[in-house]
């Protein structure tokens, strides 16, 4: 860290840090502490009842089949979406590496899905997925296949939302991995080719290992993102049918803002906080390593 000079003025620097510090304290530190405290109380907004109940909320939420389902859904979502996005991202980055005619317009077009508002994306997929008059089922019917309940079948709905996520975020994985590829010096491949290594040999022994930090970054960013997924679920299925598409964020929303069980919602939020902290640990470690 470069420090300006010895005469530097502590009052001035404290003063200019203070506004951001206060906003961060108010909007993030205080709410987190508040959530921790609330989670030890039975607290319903409607009945105005506040009672200390120790760890009961945690035990209730932990054994709540709805929360377990939401947690499992979130993990399923994170796993399938991340594997697909990273896998496709690597594939596309390798296929579209190097220079070719129209590369810039092609790349700019390919990142459209991540630019479009999530709500607009949800809207058009909801239209395409519609059971009776959606395009997908129309195609299936015209091929004499049974229509699929994309968003209304319990065993299908989560996958349908994941497909939307894959459509939206594969470009992101593609771009980041491609940026990583660009940073590999050409000489490495040339010398390796001279040694007689084939394409796949190069891929597994050179390219993928060098790309591992980019791949890890995408995996972490996508996992972090699935824990906050809310808008897509809200717009496409509202957690249904049943609770087959409820994610942890949606569960907290329902507990807190539909049933007003603030204590239970806070306990659920803390469980999420713990998982995110573990991911954050790796993420921050990685970033700090890069910073130094």
């Amino acid at each position: 860290m470069k420090i300006l000079n010895k005469r530097s003025n502590p009052a001035f620097f404290t003063l200019i840090l203070l506004p951001a510090l206060l906003v961060i304290l108010f909007l993030t530190v205080y709410p987190v502490l508040n959530t921790i405290i609330l989670s030890f109380f039975k607290n319903n907004y409607l009945s105005d009842e506040i009672k200390f109940i120790g760890l009961k909320n945690f035990m209730n939420i932990g054994s709540d089949s709805g929360f377990q389902r939401a947690f499992l859904n979130t993990l399923t979502f994170a796993a399938i979406a991340t594997v697909a996005e990273v896998g496709l991202g690597i594939f596309l980055a390798l296929m579209f590496f190097g220079e070719f005619r129209g590369k810039r317009p092609f790349m700019i077009t390919v990142i459209f899905p991540m630019m479009v508002s999530t709500m607009v994306i949800s809207a058009v997929w909801k239209v395409l997925y519609h059971y009776d008059i959606g395009l997908f089922n129309h195609i299936l019917r015209s091929m004499n296949l049974a229509p699929v309940g994309w968003l209304i079948d319990q065993s299908q709905a989560l996958l349908s939302i994941i497909i939307v996520d894959i459509w939206q975020w594969t470009p992101f994985a593609f771009l980041i991995i491609q940026a990583g590829l660009n940073s590999i010096p050409k000489e490495i491949f040339e010398s390796s080719s001279i040694d007689g290594a084939g394409y796949f040999r190069n891929l597994f022994s050179i390219t993928l290992p060098i790309l591992s930090s980019q791949i890890l970054l995408v995996i972490m960013l996508r996992t972090i993102d699935t824990f906050r997924i809310f808008g897509k679920v809200y717009a496409l299925t509202q957690g249904g049918p049943g609770n087959s598409t409820e994610t942890v964020s949606y569960f907290i929303y329902r507990e807190g803002f539909s049933y007003f069980n603030l204590g239970r919602a806070s306990a659920a939020a803390l469980y999420v906080l713990i998982v995110i902290s573990i991911i954050a640990l790796f993420y921050i470690k990685g970033i700090m390593k890069e910073e130094n």
């Binding site: 200019i16 506004p19 951001a20 459209f112 709500m119 607009v120």
Partner: protein, 277 residues
Amino acid sequence: MTGSVMGRKGLIFWLLMAVVLFLVLFPLYWILITALKTPLENISPVPSLFPSVISFENFFNVMRSGFFKNLFNSLFVAFTSTFFSLVLAFLASYALLRYKFPFKLNVVFLIWVLVVKILPPMVLSIPLYTMFTKVGLINDLWGLILVYQVYTLPYCIWMLFGFMKSLPLEFEQAAEIDGASKLKTLTHVVVPLASSGIAATAIFSIIIAWDEFLFALLFIRSPRLQTLPLKIVSFITEYETLWGDLMAIGLLATIPVLFFSGYYYKRLTEGFSLGLK
């Protein structure tokens, strides 16, 4: 991977490109033609790939339903929250870069900023909702601007800190030797040097706020204060089959953002990936 390994671009390459472009563009094409179809054609059980009559009825409907009010709300909230975040983040980043605070505050602060960046906002929503209700900032665009600092402020701090790290110290020292005050050095020397970083940060921060849905849903009650994502959701959930209107709003809300696509690509490939999302 390089030309020597991959060989020339053959038929398969161009075919794959066509498939990728099709997959990317088809849903966007569907937004466009659904917006241009008549409401009746949109609920036909046999979806047509091209509108039989091009109709702007949906767009007129949308504009009559208060679209401009929602557009204004979205723009106002996105730009204002970004403005505040930029000012606060710029000052804070500068302080963190140029002054060593006691108790390792510099590192602690930056780590917390990162934690907030990856925290699901839902985790904060209940205490924030209670707080904002108490001070009467629910159902108020200023309340939304304040709560959006949860997203935009950590984002701007992280991005600007990254940009400003590479600024040379000499200009500031020269200004100081010339007798410029600290504040004057900041506004006349550091701001111009960091301007490209500030612009990039502003654009991404505006997009984040423009896209935000959760707090808008929780904090805004009256339709006249709705931002565009809320308006779109109300169309999805309340009027199931007004698809033409829905897609018309979607199209209007999307076009401004697509213009940034080229810029986004440039930034991402230049290696600013860490600051994103």
